[in-house]
Amino acid sequence: MLFVALRMLTFDTAKYLGLIFTVAFSTFLISQQASVFASLMTRTTSQIRDVSDASVWVAHPEHRYIDEIKPLSENALTEVRGVEGVKWAVRLYRGLSRAKAADGNFRTCITMGVDDTTLVGLPRKMVLGDPQALRQPDAVFLDRFGYSFFFPGQDFRLGAELELNDRRAVVAGIVDSSAPFVTFPVIYTRYSLALTYAGQERNTLSLILAEPESGITPKQLAERIHARTGLTAMDAEAFGWQTIWFYVRNTGIPVNFGVIIAVGIVVGTVVASQTLYLFTLDNLRQYAALKAIGVRSATLAGMVLVQSSVVGSIGFGFGAAMCVSFFFFTRNMPHLRGFITHSEILVGTAALMALIVVGASLLSVRRVVALEPATVFR
């Protein structure tokens, strides 16, 4: 009876497509909004994720998250280096500075000052140039979207100049860094040079990056550093989650997205369930005839479940494809950079849609099983 179920499902093309797209749009709404939320939260940790050379981050005990840092004294670096198990520890500066292009175009930029000697803290991926070029006088690396902002319409080239807090900076490399939470351009330079671009404070050391010796995990080292120095130390993942939780607790972002996602779930559940149920009601007379002929209720229930499963699978496929396509085609838009479809969200959406489809099927199955076959004689 499988082919009968499928024929019943696909016979009326308009109804069939209606069912498919109901599930597809529900899937899209839920997965797209959830992915935007997850991507937005991920963007808050972009500067942490871009540092791939160090696994432990050390910060002032009173810092809140990466965007609200209380500078450390230089002694802190010495203390950290003295902790047993620290293979190496280097300085990292993170601050904001105002950059101005030759045409007067200006923008506040995130300025990252990496260790002068080792250049630890640079993103791995260079779009143009060599990491060693950062050692040149006044050298800065600019992220590619920052370059496009300051030099619109121009091909990537090295040697372009900017003013950073009234000081000359030469673009010696273009990096492919992750998009930050706010769409500020990101500038990388040496730690010593970064201090000249920054407003002067007594303490200037934003963060310390450290790496454990072999046999010691980043988490163990972080605990040791904290125990020995009193500084806050975390592995990179924990530091990233600290930032995410700061945004979750202190902004309206999760509430707003939560409402939209909840509405998506409710609307998706109601509309998809109702559409599937109405489809079954439309076919009740056919089911009654089959039941009168001698088709078992279990077989009819199986037919309904097959129809729902097919609709759910194809609808989810379309919805997921729409979601993935959305982020694929918007990947180069600066304000949507770094927004991706998270596989975990697709898996979760699939589970949710399966739940919706099964729920709607059970309503339909209940109706079909309870159907009085004698109605065919009326």
């Binding site: 009968v4 024929r7 002929i293 001698g294 088709v295």
Partner: protein, 242 residues
């Protein structure tokens, strides 16, 4: 064991609802349907014909009384056993045909076989052969909406007979057809459905087809009021049977 009657209904009563709002549809109907002929259950609208047919089909449970089909006590069977019995032993023809609009004529005629677990290819093949016997060999792949009423009812006849049932139950099979089409369908039924080991019970108030009956059972107000045996019912000519 030899079964004397295809259908035996004794003292069947049926009430819908309860208390002061109860509606009595059958008041102790007793009926015997023999093998080898067409029995027509006739009477005015609302006299309980369809209710009695539904009870005989196992689609409704009577309030009181006994129903034996092919020698078996229908009411003693579980619901599941009734469904299986219905699928194996009964064929149905409905007033509104109740064909599945998404299936071709041959596929529609094969539904009973498919329900019995016959593989699709074999089921459709058997149904197609039967449809050809019924003069629809050129319409095997046609959808119901492209067929005339008479053609659709012939597909329904094929569906009812494809699995070779011992009892064929028909509800107003000619009511939706014009006189010529109705007569043509009945000629097909008389030629193909009537066999010594099969009983055909037709609920109808279409007097144009009474001459095909071997037995006419008159119902009125929930009771069987008369049974008329007919010695020489209309039979199809060889050409009509073909």
């Amino acid at each position: 064991m030899t079964v004397e009657h295809a259908i035996r209904v004794e003292g069947v009563e049926k009430e819908f609802g309860s208390g002061s709002s109860a509606a009595i549809a059958l008041r102790g109907a007793t009926l015997t349907v023999p093998f080898g002929g067409i029995t027509m259950l006739v009477g005015p609208s609302g006299c309980g014909k369809t209710t009695l047919l539904s009870i005989i089909a196992g689609l409704l449970r009577p309030t009181r009384g006994a129903v034996r089909l092919l020698g078996r006590d229908l009411l003693a069977m579980s619901d599941r056993a009734q469904v299986d019995f219905r699928r194996r032993s009964m064929g149905f023809i409905f007033q509104q045909y109740n064909l599945l609009p998404s299936l071709s004529a041959a596929e529609n005629a094969s539904v009973g076989l498919l329900a019995a677990g016959v593989p699709r290819r074999a089921a459709v093949g058997r149904a197609a052969a039967l449809l050809s016997d019924l003069g629809l060999g050129q319409k095997l792949d046609s959808l119901p909406r492209t067929l005339s009423g008479g053609q659709q009812q012939r597909v329904a006849v094929a569906r009812a007979l494809a699995h070779d049932p011992s009892v064929v139950l028909c509800d107003e099979p000619t009511a939706a057809l014009d006189g010529a089409s109705g007569r043509a369908v009945m000629e097909m039924m008389a030629a193909i459905a009537v066999r010594p080991d099969r009983a055909v019970l037709i609920v109808t108030h279409d007097s144009r087809i009474f001459d095909f009956a071997h037995q006419i059972v008159q119902m009125e107000d929930g009771l069987i009021t008369a049974v008329e045996q007919r010695a020489n019912p209309a039979t199809p000519t060889p050409a009509q049977a073909a």
